[in-house]
């Protein structure tokens, strides 16, 4: 099955007619996944959007429950709601890989987050492969591949003028079934691109375990502003805070994105802060991305999308950090040398 890029518009209109559809597009000077509709120009040429698609499943601010008080009686009602089906069309393999990470966090290990689950089940993900990975892209050496997205419901393989359309799940199959009128029979040779930028992750998760006190962290600390940019543009960062909005006789509890880069992230009642220093915070971020997460979910929390490298005000470059870790001698050897 082929989808001519030129004809994609008609298909999008059809999908949008039946459910909410999100496509990569420019948005007032930035770019993100926006609801398709009048005036929206999809940007399938964008490598990846400035803001990741994670807010479609895990909104920046999400109300958990509301309460209202009438004198002595307190009424509490959950803000949970089933979500209508929606389609995310044209996300990149790295972003698809990020959804796998979020799934692991919110749906596995015996804990299921109903708010996330409702959206996840309502979502149909249509991934589009990358014909020309960007200079900051390194997904294929850390988490994914520019030309495949195994967990996507539908895969669109870039073949130049058209996409080769392959359903990969039941949801995908029924979706493609419905797309038929807009698809064409025939074959095309998908472009199997590879990233120029490579990292060697092989030994990194293990090595990191011995690098808690490595000077690398203070070096990164010197460079880093510890702002939250990387965590907010990261498609996999899922840390959140729970806070409340209290009014006179009503209020709501909500969760909202938080960042391990912020000092108040670990601030404790009584004023103690276990991660008061910059280096301890950056260490936590990379340890989490490159080893702690692996221990629990057996995958890297970095998908190599390159967003953090692109937007960091201080040009902190995770690929360079991985290189440096890969190049460092394992802790035991260091100790051995120390003893020698």
């Amino acid at each position: 099955m082929l989808l001519k890029k030129a004809k994609a518009g008609a298909l999008l209109d059809a999908i949008a007619a039946k459910e909410r559809l999100f496509v990569p597009a420019d948005d007032r000077g930035t770019s993100r996944f926006v609801a398709y509709g009048a005036g929206v120009e999809p940007r399938f040429d964008l490598l990846n959007t400035k803001l990741p698609p994670k807010d479609l499943l895990f909104p920046a601010t999400e109300t958990l429950y509301r309460w209202s008080r009438d004198g002595a009686d307190l009424a509490i009602d959950s803000a949970f709601a089933e979500t209508d089906p929606f389609t995310v069309f044209g996300l990149r393999p790295c972003d698809m890989a990020s959804v796998d990470r979020l799934d692991a966090v919110f749906l596995t290990k015996g804990y299921v987050d109903e708010f996330y689950q409702a959206k996840r089940e309502a979502a149909t993900f249509v991934a589009a492969t990358c014909a020309h990975p960007g200079r900051a892209c390194f997904c294929d050496s850390i988490a994914a591949s520019p030309h495949e997205a195994p967990t996507a419901d539908v895969l669109l393989e870039d073949a130049g003028e058209e996409w080769v359309v392959t359903p990969q799940t039941e949801k995908g199959a029924s979706a493609v079934e419905a797309w038929k009128p807009y698809l064409e029979e025939g074959d095309a040779e998908p472009i199997k691109a590879a990233c120029d930028l490579k990292v060697d992750m092989a030994a990194v998760p293990e090595k990191l375990k011995g690098m808690f006190d490595d000077p690398i962290w203070s070096d990164i600390g010197d460079q880093c502003l510890t702002c939250g940019t990387c965590t907010f543009v990261c498609p996999t960062c899922y840390c959140f805070n729970i806070d409340q909005d209290v009014r006179e006789d009503e209020g709501k509890r909500f969760r909202c994105w938080d960042s391990c880069m912020f000092t108040d992230y670990t601030a404790m009642a009584g004023g103690h802060n276990p991660r008061a220093s910059k280096e301890s915070r950056v260490r936590q971020r990379f340890m989490h991305k490159l080893t702690y997460f692996n221990d629990r979910y057996d995958m890297n929390l970095c998908v190599g999308c390159g967003r953090c490298m692109r937007d960091c005000p201080a040009a902190v470059d995770i690929s360079l950090i991985i290189d440096r870790i890969a190049a460092s001698e394992p802790a035991q050897e260091k100790e051995a040398m120390a003893h020698a």
Partner: protein
């Protein structure tokens, strides 16, 4: 600028090996050759990693505060960094003898994305260091370009349009606090947004909370702003943050002036920390 870079490297190596300073703050090259980042060099043999050219977009002075304490620290300072040094001293965050300023007259930096002069440089009023222990390279002319064009544009709008302008700006803000962390005026140990005081800064992400953060931060820094534009440069969402800073600076100049901005000297008091009994009266 190549020779300037060489001198910076030499001086850095000399200062470090002589033990006069414990670190030198400048710029290094990233993985891609158009990428620069704030580099803190602590060993003489690393001095060669320092670079200085038209791509050094970051205003690095904020790093000073993290390294003073373990001896004197050298800072490669252009006009903007040098004003930041004055700012720190005036705010009692630094004493002059804790920093060794390697002054570098600045021709203005180039935005790698567009290839044009970086906006904060295009609005720069002080290209030559206002304070330095030594000067590398010859002083450059001070064109003092008009920096209020954006303010004029917004002021010319109707109230509703101005409101819409700021709604859009704060609507796009992701509250990463990069502007705050890059700002030489933001030297609080704990920012007001991190207070758990009722009603100070809500954690939710919406235009209201972003506006509360944005405007209060702007007010907290308005009468001390050195107009380096680093907040705007650092903003990952490319928000025109300087418009509200320039607007305040201009108002302060009009109302309590003459006032050319903060950090030109290392002593206060700043405009909102003082008063004149004959200040303009408009609240009768």
């Amino acid at each position: 600028m190549a020779d300037v870079q060489d001198i910076i490297r030499e001086r850095a190596a000399a200062l470090l090996s002589s033990g006069e300073v414990s670190a030198v703050i400048g710029w290094g090259v990233g993985r891609f050759d158009d990428v620069r980042f704030p580099l803190v060099v602590k060993r003489a043999e690393d001095a060669g990693k320092l670079v200085f050219d038209a791509s050094c977009v970051q205003m690095t002075a904020k790093r000073l505060l993290e390294h003073t304490g373990d001896g004197k620290v050298a800072l490669v300072a252009r006009g903007c960094e040098s004003r930041a040094v004055n700012r720190f001293i005036a705010d009692h965050q630094l004493t002059r003898d804790q920093v060794y300023v390697i002054g570098v007259p600045c021709p203005g930096m180039v935005d790698p994305a567009t290839g044009e002069t970086l906006k904060r440089c295009a609005e720069c009023q002080v290209r030559n260091p206002v304070v330095h222990d030594e000067l590398v390279g010859d002083p450059v002319p001070e064109p003092k370009p008009y920096r209020f064009a954006e303010v004029d544009r917004v002021e010319a709008m109707s109230r509703e349009e101005r409101r819409a302008f700021f709604d859009e700006m704060y609507g796009k803000c992701i509250r990463c606090y990069a502007c705050r962390n890059a700002c030489p005026c933001c030297t609080c140990r704990e920012c007001f947004v991190e207070q758990d005081k009722v009603g100070w800064q809500g954690k939710a992400f919406n235009v209201n909370e972003a506006r509360y953060y944005g405007m209060i931060r702007a007010f907290h820094t308005g009468d001390r702003c050195i107009e380096c534009g680093e907040c705007e440069r650092a903003c990952p969402m490319g928000l025109p943050l300087m418009v509200i800073m320039h607007q305040q600076v201009r108002d302060i100049d009009k109302l309590f002036g003459p006032y050319e901005g903060g950090g030109l000297t290392d002593s206060g008091p700043d405009p909102l920390r003082t008063y004149k009994t004959d200040d303009i009266e408009e609240f009768m």
